[in-house]
């Protein structure tokens, strides 16, 4: 059998398995509420929660782009293991405090927290609360759309590669998107979480097999390092001060930004209980070592295996390695197919989570529907369908330079940090100050990036935006608090 035939058969088996899982998830549905559809009835156990967190956090980007980045940057890309681990560390600041309040007040979307936090208790909401919910929701939706679009494009590419062209790019994008929509609308978060679990296992098996093959062929890590030192000495030297600053900045950017991913926040809501959530996070702590470290070392080993392929080809490092593995025939051919299907699984698991969160946020936060409203789940399903239909033609366009705004995903998401990580700890924080910080921080991040200053001495524009954002929030909240106290004292007198 040829590589394409094995790949097509594997793809069909994979999709049939997902169909079966989605059907079981649909039958496990308890009711038609938004909580059941978007959060699996808030009953995800440790293993499923852990695997869905894993599959969602490690997108197709982690599998396809990171080896290319490691190939270009050299050993300094070991920082990727650190920044992926930082996400689980930063969750300590949010999850233990957000979880009890989310379960007590039945949150479904991230906006529910913002609405509650600045809701003014029994009285009327704080000034700026509604605009803040909309602002946070809009930034999160833009970031998610970017993420979803990238996954749709990657799905088309991988489906075309794994079937050796039998499934054209456009058909891969549209067909697999329709498939995601099918299982998501039928089974909601339950189907997404269970398919994520299956996809995560496939991803781990594929990666481990590829890494074992590379190390075996290269003669061990010691030989890899010495070969890289000969071919590209700059890839092994101690990084300079600017790279070190960039390293710290990237750890902070990814650690803080990824914690406010809507799909991550919704998984905090969806856990069966607090212990389950803590155990899942404990397991997640080790996954950067099993995934990011492995793809980084694969990219570095490619320096010796592929030689100088040029900067433009760097993104093709993984496909090139897999092609040479497949050429070795037998186990290599099957192994390459498993990795490709694993990559497709990673992409689809991220795409389905993005779509579910997007539809929940559009129905809930942007339109202002309550999570307890029975029509919210129905509206969310309709939004998911409309969104996908609208995004598929965009994904067909290979050149997306007009969509530069969408590339600012992490920089934009980072500006939502004060509304969550600060607001959950600081009682005096005000909605209008948080909104002002969000606007100023976003404007600075976008302004710097579009002016060609995406980094200043290694520090990301998004981090500079967040710093200004946080300063505005602190100053604004303090001033407003004082003016309220003065006003109430004047009234009393």
């Amino acid at each position: 059998m040829s590589f394409g035939e094995i790949g097509t058969a594997a793809l069909v088996i994979y999709l049939l398995t997902l169909t079966g899982i989605a059907e079981v998830a649909r039958r496990a549905r308890k009711d038609t509420s938004a909580g059941d559809h978007f959060l699996a009835g808030r009953d995800l156990g440790t293993m499923v929660l852990f695997l869905t967190l894993y599959a969602t956090a490690y997108s197709g980007n982690s599998l396809l782009a990171y080896p290319g980045k490691a190939y270009s940057s050299g050993f300094s890309f070991i920082m990727s293991t650190g920044f992926m681990m930082a996400i689980i560390v930063v969750f300590h600041v949010l999850a233990p405090k957000l979880r009890p309040i989310a379960t007590t007040f039945h949150f479904v979307t991230p906006g529910d927290w913002v609405r509650h936090r600045f809701g003014g208790g029994a009285g009327s909401p704080e000034p700026g609360q509604r605009a803040l919910v909309l602002g946070v929701g809009s930034l999160m939706c833009i970031a998610l759309m970017n993420f979803l679009l990238a996954q749709l494009k990657a799905m088309g590419h991988v489906a075309s590669i794994v079937t050796d062209g039998a499934v054209p790019y456009e058909f891969g994008v549209a067909g697999l998107a329709a498939f995601i929509l099918f299982y998501e609308t039928r089974g909601g978060m339950r189907a997404v979480a269970w398919t994520d679990a299956a996809q995560a296992i496939l991803m781990l098996v594929g990666l481990s097999a590829l890494f074992a093959w590379i190390l075996d062929g290269a003669g061990g890590m010691d030989t890899v390092t010495r070969t890289v030192a000969k071919l590209r000495p700059e890839a092994v030297v101690v990084p300079d001060a600017k790279t070190c600053v960039g390293w710290f900045s990237t750890v902070a950017l990814l650690g803080l930004g990824s914690v406010v991913y809507p799909q991550a926040i919704q998984r905090i809501y969806a856990a069966r209980d607090g212990r389950t959530l803590a155990n899942s996070f404990a397991l997640m702590s080790f996954m950067p070592l099993a995934t990011t470290l492995v793809v980084t070392l694969i990219g570095i080993a490619a320096i010796g295996l592929l030689g100088d392929i040029g900067q433009r080809e760097a993104d093709e490092v993984l496909p090139l390695l897999l092609a040479s593995w497949a050429e070795s025939g037998g186990v290599g051919q099957i192994g390459a197919v498993v990795v490709f299907v694993g990559a497709l699984a990673a992409i689809m698991s991220t795409a389905d989570s993005c779509l579910l969160s997007l539809s929940a946020m559009m129905a809930g936060d942007l339109l202002g529907n309550s999570g307890s409203d029975p029509t919210t789940a129905k509206r969310g399903k309709r939004f998911a369908a409309v969104l996908l239909v609208a995004m598929i033609p965009v994904a067909f366009i290979e050149e997306l330079s007009l969509w530069r705004l969408l590339e600012l995903k992490m920089e934009l998401l980072l500006q939502c940090v004060p509304a969550f990580l600060m607001a959950i700890h600081w009682r005096a924080q005000r909605a209008d100050a948080t909104l002002a910080g969000l606007v100023v921080g976003t404007a600075l991040s976008i302004g710097l990036t579009f002016s060609g200053f995406s980094r200043i001495y290694g520090i990301h524009a998004g981090m500079l935006g967040l710093t200004l954002n946080a300063l505005v929030v602190v100053a604004g909240s303090t001033v407003m608090r004082r003016s309220i106290v003065t006003q109430s004292l004047t009234t009393q007198n």
């Binding site: 050993f75 070991i78 920082m79 293991t81 650190g82 681990m85 930082a86 560390v89 300590h92 999850a95 233990p96 405090k97 957000l98 979880r99 009890p100 309040i101 379960t103 007590t104 007040f105 509650h116 936090r117 809701g119 003014g120 208790g121 029994a122 009285g123 704080e126 061990g220 890590m221 010691d222 890899v224 390092t225 010495r226 030192a229 092994v236 030297v237 101690v238 990084p239 001060a241 070190c244 710290f248 750890v251 607090g274 212990r275 959530l277 803590a278 155990n279 996070f281 404990a282 397991l283 702590s285 080790f286 950067p288 070592l289 470290l293 959950i424 700890h425 009682r427 924080q429 909605a431």
Partner: protein, 116 residues
């Protein structure tokens, strides 16, 4: 500290209850509060350890022109960074095991809400 606040609540508990609390109940409350407090202290220690490991993982303190030394198949500064990240994974997993995440929000306990 949590256990001292629970001691402060004794008279209040005794006043509200029809029967005075038994000494064994009081001892058990105090010892469980002590356990919770020592877990919280340990958790803070682990999180501080993680912060230190992150600072050490970035080779800002190394000379950029240092000759290549290979440790465990990796350049020495990479091996140090990786060792730090393995340490972070272990400490972070331990910290999560020590984290108590309540399932119900108790009024007056953080997180706070404006207007209260």
């Amino acid at each position: 500290m949590a256990w001292t606040s629970s001691l402060a609540n004794w008279p209040h508990c005794l006043g509200e209850s029809a029967k005075p609390a038994r000494m064994s109940d009081i001892h058990s409350t105090v010892s469980s509060d002590r356990r919770a407090s020592s877990r919280a202290r340990m958790r803070r220690l682990l999180l501080s350890g993680i912060a230190v490991l992150y600072v050490v993982s970035v080779p800002w303190y190394r000379e950029t022109d240092a000759p290549l030394r290979v440790w465990f198949g990796l350049p020495d500064w990479v091996a140090v960074a990786l060792g730090c990240y393995i340490g972070v994974a272990v400490l972070n997993a331990m910290a999560w095991r020590l984290t108590d995440i309540p399932d119900q929000y108790v009024e007056g306990q953080a997180p706070e809400r404006s207007g209260k």
